[in-house]
């Protein structure tokens, strides 16, 4: 597969070099973009990222016709939901995309996070009350415990057991919320806490009807998480995840403690799901047993699969899309589960890598390796051979 992009001498050799590194999981259209991106200097990359982040922060304020979800749904609230789905998708992507574990009960962790926020902040709860913002890390910690407790017996087993156990787990959390009296079933918890701060008119900044502040809060969390996960992926942990996703037996033989790293992925994924649940509880201001059903788990899975398993930027896009489409096209909202279920099947048959496939790339010394391969490719004789080898 040739890229065939008309480029100058130096960049052409770099393009070849890129082919060495870059396998053909990407459509050629996107490849030009990723090449261009990979060969920008670090500073320029950060510059572009800053612009992108600024644009992302401005999203709830710019209400573009055709793109906006109004009049059907309030646009800032819609962006808050999109961001929340994106955060969930990033977390689930660690489990499904990075470590290759199919988790069909992710909503269970989301629910645990929401209940942690509710139990420790709502006046309906008899527990000790703490400030809302503290519940975010607390929710993450509690869900990690749940994730580890669920993971220890199941992660040693084959992947499909894990799928069905997690499917059961999600359902059990919902059932427990219904039948344990202290969790108040359908009555639920009102007035879940919110971050501090008031507007000039005395209304809280993080009112339940205001989407924008919640969006910004979620986006900030997403950025922190993305930086942390990016580092983690380039570390020993990330390399082990990839080894284990690509071939578990080979990874085990090469000395990767597969169980431990699966547990890592499961725990980190759980923590992010719990955090997202706590944010959702705060924004909606009400938690009961009604919104944590299996359907949500499947929607989270669709977000990851649609965006591209193993690609965390893809997960953000996938999560945002899964939230956005039913809000924007209210006429089809009723059929969203049907549509997204079909999307899963169709994607698996025709494009299992999703919109943005994971790009196999060198992790630790990527830039240095790029340069070195680029120099190699400059040598006239080795270039065609190298190109062949890359395919």
């Amino acid at each position: 597969m040739s890229t065939g992009t008309p480029m100058g001498g130096a960049s052409e050799s770099q393009a070849r070099a890129d082919e060495l590194v870059d396998e053909t999981t990407k459509p050629s259209r996107l490849r030009g973009l990723s090449e261009w991106w990979n060969h920008l200097p670090r500073v320029a990359q950060w510059g572009f990222l800053l612009i992108a982040v600024a644009a992302a922060f401005a999203l709830p304020l710019v209400n573009i016709p055709l793109i906006t979800t109004e009049p059907g749904n309030n646009w800032p609230l819609a962006t808050a939901e999109m961001a929340r789905y994106a955060l969930v998708a990033i977390g689930l992507n660690v489990v499904v995309g990075q470590a290759g574990l199919l988790d069909l009960g992710y909503v269970g962790f989301f629910a645990v996070g929401a209940y942690v926020a509710a139990l420790w902040t709502s006046p309906d709860s008899t527990m000790v009350h703490i400030p809302y913002l503290l519940t975010l890390p607390l929710a993450a910690m509690v869900t990690v415990v749940f994730g580890v407790l669920l993971g220890i017996p199941t992660l040693r087993l084959r992947g499909d057991y894990l799928a069905i156990v997690t499917l059961g787990f999600g359902e059990i959390i919902r059932l427990l919320a219904t039948i344990i009296p202290a969790l108040k079933g359908q009555v639920g918890f009102q007035q879940v806490g919110r971050p501090p701060g008031e507007n000039a008119d005395g209304n809280p900044v993080f009112a339940n009807s205001e989407g924008a502040p919640w969006y910004w809060l979620t986006l900030t969390v997403i950025i922190v998480v993305m930086i942390a996960l990016g580092n983690l992926e380039r570390s020993r942990v990330g390399r082990n995840w990839i080894a284990l996703r690509e071939d578990e037996d080979a990874a085990e033989i090469m000395g990767v403690p597969t169980f431990r790293y699966k547990l890592w992925a499961f725990g980190i994924g759980a923590a992010l799901g719990g955090g997202a649940g706590a944010i959702a509880a705060g924004q909606i201001g009400f938690v009961n047993n009604q919104r944590f059903d299996v359907q949500m788990s499947i929607m989270f899975l669709v977000a990851v699969v649609l965006g591209g398993q193993g690609n965390k930027f893809g997960a953000i896009i996938g999560g945002a899309l899964v939230a956005y489409i039913p809000l924007r096209f209210t006429a089809i909202a009723e059929y969203k589960y049907l549509i997204f279920g079909a999307v899963l099947v169709v994607l698996m048959i025709f494009r299992p890598q999703g919109l943005f496939g994971k790009r196999p790339h060198l992790l630790t010394f990527e830039r240095r390796a790029h340069k070195r391969i680029a120099n190699l490719a400059d040598a006239p004789t080795s270039a065609p051979a190298a190109k062949e080898a890359g395919q």
């Binding site: 087993l157 057991y161 069905i164 202290a182 359907q295 279920g341 079909a342 099947v345 698996m348």
Partner: protein, 324 residues
Amino acid sequence: MNQWITFDWEALGANFWSATVDGLTFGGIYALVALGYTLVYGVLNLINFAHSEVFIVGAYAIVFTLTSLGFGPSVPNLEWYAIAANLLLAVIFGMLASAVTAFIVERVAYKPLRAKGAPRLVFLISAIGMSFVIQYLIFVWRGPNPEPSVIMFENKAIFDIGGTLIYFDSILIVTAAILMMIVVDQFIRRTKLGRGIRAVAQDPDTATLMGVNRERIIISTFVIGGLLAGVAALFYVMKVPSGVLYLGGFLLGIKAFTAAVLGGIGNVRGALLGGLLLGLIGNYGQILLGSAQWTDVVCFVVLIIVLMVRPEGILGSNLGKVRA
């Protein structure tokens, strides 16, 4: 009063024997559905996530057949053989509907992927997608409420053993489940198709080299699982008349799968043992903890414990190891 979990040992003691009978009845239904999971797992080494929907489609077909024959929530005034004939007709339609669904699931969600040699995760995701699609097709068509119940006979107590009444449906369901299990077991052991299934379960490549048509074996396995799910659906309609709704398959599916794992997935006799045991455990747990919703929680905890202690299940898990 305890705000979290209360145990009611007295209730369990008082209702122990009726709970046992009831548990075995549900266990029979679990066992029949579990067979579908077990057979497909034995052959493909994959969980057929859409099997729960295969089952519920059968239940819908049975309810539709019976309502269109004019039956409803009141017991019909007919001789027993007329009722039996109507039930037989209904179960044939149920089995057909389930088998066709299983066939479609295999053709849409499994076959194209097998042709491409896709990784396991891809199969699981496409199967779960398929299950979701069927669930919501039913939802869009029939709405969120269960179908109106159809009662075919007055459920009389047949025996009275030491104060415990044993009802007709319990006897029917448990007997039928055991009979079906024997039939399937003998089918796997003795027939040519059964030998093919065992061969593919043991080693698909060698089986193909030996002239076994693997594709045909796989599709037959799905269809057999579907037929059994259709029978289970009839008993489900009898036992839980108000349970025919779009989510009904999902909830039963998890329990049936647990039953299959408990007995040893891929093991036909294990499915029966696991189903009956799980029915008992679930029912005892439900009475002990005081609410029907605990059944699912208890079954799930059983699944986790089994996976921790003996992941290959009670009877061990390999369809290929069955001797003729």
